[in-house]
């Protein structure tokens, strides 16, 4: 059973979407998932997953290891089709898109991978230029300017000509975000942005995500199991569970932490063994 958590009164540090969500008309849904199910062989990863992601919010997909968070992310970005159900991203269904239409939707989203997934033989600036080169006819001078601006925004303005092997894990993640933002996407998907980072770097990355969400109005879908990050950045979340093979909670992470009666949700937010 999915446990909803209602959002109440505005609090400090909210994104625009969160504030708007508390007005009469909530922002439009940019992602709609209905009864989504995924299975590998005979093993069901999850089923009956239904949720909306609203424009401008930071939406967190959370859960323990092996619950299918990253699999759900791959379904949302169209890397693989679900076994059952429907996923609409910006009113388009991946399954119905081919060729130029698919490329068109790819231009409107950005993905940051857990490891950064930067190409090792290219500098950070060249990595950021890559999607611009693939999806526009901008000349090299313009691409270089955009790459500089994007890397400057994530705090890597002095590392434009560094190779991925020459920078730290936190910098790799920042560079991954800069590359994901290269085409000014409407939705940014982040896979485990804080995983493997020290608390200070992790908090810095959370601040970066919050400031980008506030300043650009971009919708963020963040896959993570880092409790601090979830509470720091999440406007709304869904929680997946391996044993339940699906969603067990949906709503404001802070409300879920404080009010949820579900034993797994309580254990997760209170860091308790089950």
């Amino acid at each position: 059973m999915t446990e909803p958590a209602q959002t109440e009164g505005p609090t400090e540090g909210q994104t625009e979407a969160q504030k708007e969500a508390q007005t009469d008309t909530p922002p439009e849904a940019v992602i709609r998932a209905r009864d989504v199910a995924m299975r590998f062989g005979r093993r069901t990863v999850f089923k009956d997953v239904t949720f909306d992601v609203r424009r401008g919010e930071i939406f967190v997909i959370l859960g323990g290891s092996g619950c299918g968070k990253s699999t759900l992310l791959k379904l949302l970005i169209g890397l693989m089709p679900p076994i059952n159900g429907e996923i609409a991203v910006l009113d388009e269904e991946w399954a119905k898109l081919e060729g130029e239409a698919r490329r068109g939707l790819l231009r409107r989203i950005g993905v940051m991978w857990q490891s950064g997934a930067l190409l090792g033989s290219l500098t950070l600036a060249e990595n950021v230029e890559l999607p611009i080169e693939a999806h526009s006819k901008l000349p090299q001078a313009a691409r270089a300017l955009v790459a500089s601006a994007k890397l400057g925004l994530v705090g890597l303005g002095d590392a434009l000509d560094r190779l991925p092997a020459e920078i730290s894990g936190g910098m790799l993640k920042r560079a991954g975000i800069a590359r994901a933002m290269a085409l000014d996407p409407e939705i940014l998907f982040l896979d485990e942005p804080s995983a493997g980072l020290d608390p200070i770097t992790s908090a810095g990355l959370d601040q970066l995500i919050l400031s980008l969400a506030r300043e650009t109005g971009t919708t963020f879908v963040v896959v993570t199991h880092e409790l601090q990050s979830i509470l720091a950045i999440g406007d709304r979340c869904i929680m997946l569970d391996k044993d339940a093979q699906g969603m067990i909670a949906e709503g404001d992470p802070k409300k879920l932490r404080d009010e949820s009666e579900h034993p797994t949700v309580r254990a997760f937010f209170r860091r308790e063994a089950m």
């Binding site: 090792g120 955009v146 303005g157 434009l160 000014d184």
Partner: protein, 367 residues
């Protein structure tokens, strides 16, 4: 068609560049050359973006690239477009352009650096060889320290799994050698000596050499890739911190396996090559018994033993080069590929060098 509008006018000695409408990546790409041509050489520029209705990073890049340092701006009225432009400027102000690398050719320094680099690599290789020899000698009196299961796995992978390829190549080489030599031999009526020619070529030279090339391509590269990946994943460091010697665990079983399988691969190559030759001889009208008689008469056990001894040395060198390439791999993502390439190239070079040394040795020994 771009839905934006762009105009360039000179008023009172000042160039006015005016943009209006949506200025996105596509519009910026379409206007880039035109706008830059108009702005070229103009001392004073006014950039009027007041009527830009939407802007993305591509459009912001066009505006900023035209502005230079002294431009006067009319900022976009649209709040979102203004925000995009401000963010773009903010990001750009935080970015320090990459410093160009001023390369100066200094031949003496370059030669010195190259020599030192070669010397360091030589020391590393000598150290690795010393480690390998000491570890192998240490295992000899205590064979239980060798990981026998690992050795058997490598014998299977490097040996039995390579047999089909060796059989195919051996048969084809035998066929080709016999066919090619039959043409000139026929002119002298000497086709009966083809078994002697092919037999000696195969057992003394081609069998071991081709088996060595197969081993370097299949197994040497696999050793380098496997060990290189283990190094990149810090598995080698993990072994060391557990008090386990990577040389004994990883290197010795592999080198031993490649040394042991090479004579077997050469033998497969020899036998299938002779079968290929016998097929050609049959088409030329010589029955198998005549071929066998020729081989028995001209081929000595010394030819075969020399070839097989050489094969074992080739196997040792190829296994050694593969393991060294893998364990000296760098940490970056290209490291594994570089290690595999180094293993194949190094293995084949070592093969040919050793073959030359054996040729001199056998000549001196009258073998």
């Amino acid at each position: 068609m771009p839905t934006d509008t762009f105009s360039a006018e000179t008023r009172g000695g000042r160039l006015h560049l005016r943009f209006a409408g949506p200025l996105d990546r596509a519009a910026a790409a379409a206007r880039w050359d035109e706008a830059h041509r108009a702005a070229k050489g103009a001392p004073d520029v006014t950039l009027d973006a007041g009527e830009v209705t939407s802007l993305d990073a591509g459009g912001a890049a066009l505006l900023v690239s035209l502005a230079g340092h002294e431009a006067a701006w009319v900022e976009p009225q649209d709040p979102a477009a203004k925000g995009t432009l401000e963010r773009f400027r903010k990001g750009l102000s935080a970015a320090r352009p990459a410093m160009p690398h001023h390369y100066r050719f200094r031949p003496v320094s370059a030669l010195g650096a190259y020599t030192l680099d070669r010397y360091r690599k030589f020391l590393e290789r000598a150290g690795f060889m010393g480690d390998t020899i000491l570890t192998a000698l240490g295992i000899l009196p205590r064979p239980w320290r060798l990981r026998w299961a690992e050795l058997l796995r490598h014998l299977d992978e490097a040996g039995t799994q390579a047999f089909p390829l060796c059989m195919l190549l051996g048969t084809l080489i035998g066929l080709i050698l016999a066919f090619q030599s039959s043409v000139p031999m026929r002119q002298f009526g000497a086709e009966i000596f083809i078994p002697q020619l092919v037999g000696i070529s195969l057992t003394r030279e081609l069998g071991p050499l081709l088996a060595g090339v197969i081993l370097a391509g299949r197994t040497g590269s696999a050793y380098a890739a496997e060990l290189g990946t283990m190094r990149v994943n810090e598995e080698v460091d993990a072994l060391k911190t557990m008090g386990l010697d990577p040389m004994a665990w990883l290197v010795v079983p592999r080198i031993l396996a490649s040394t042991l399988v090479m004579p077997a691969l050469s033998m497969v190559m020899n036998v299938t090559g002779l079968i290929g030759m016998a097929i050609v001889m049959a088409t030329l009208g010589f029955p198998p018994i005549a071929v066998l008689n020729q081989l028995e008469q001209w081929l000595s056990i010394g030819d075969l033993a020399g070839g097989l001894a050489k094969s074992a040395a080739f196997g040792l060198a190829i296994g050694y080069v593969g393991c060294r390439s893998g364990l000296s791999a760098g940490r970056g993502p290209r490291a594994v590929g570089d290690a595999a390439t180094g293993a194949v190239v190094g293995g084949i070079v070592a093969l040919v060098l050793l073959d030359g040394l054996f040729a001199i040795l056998f000549f001196r020994l009258g073998w």
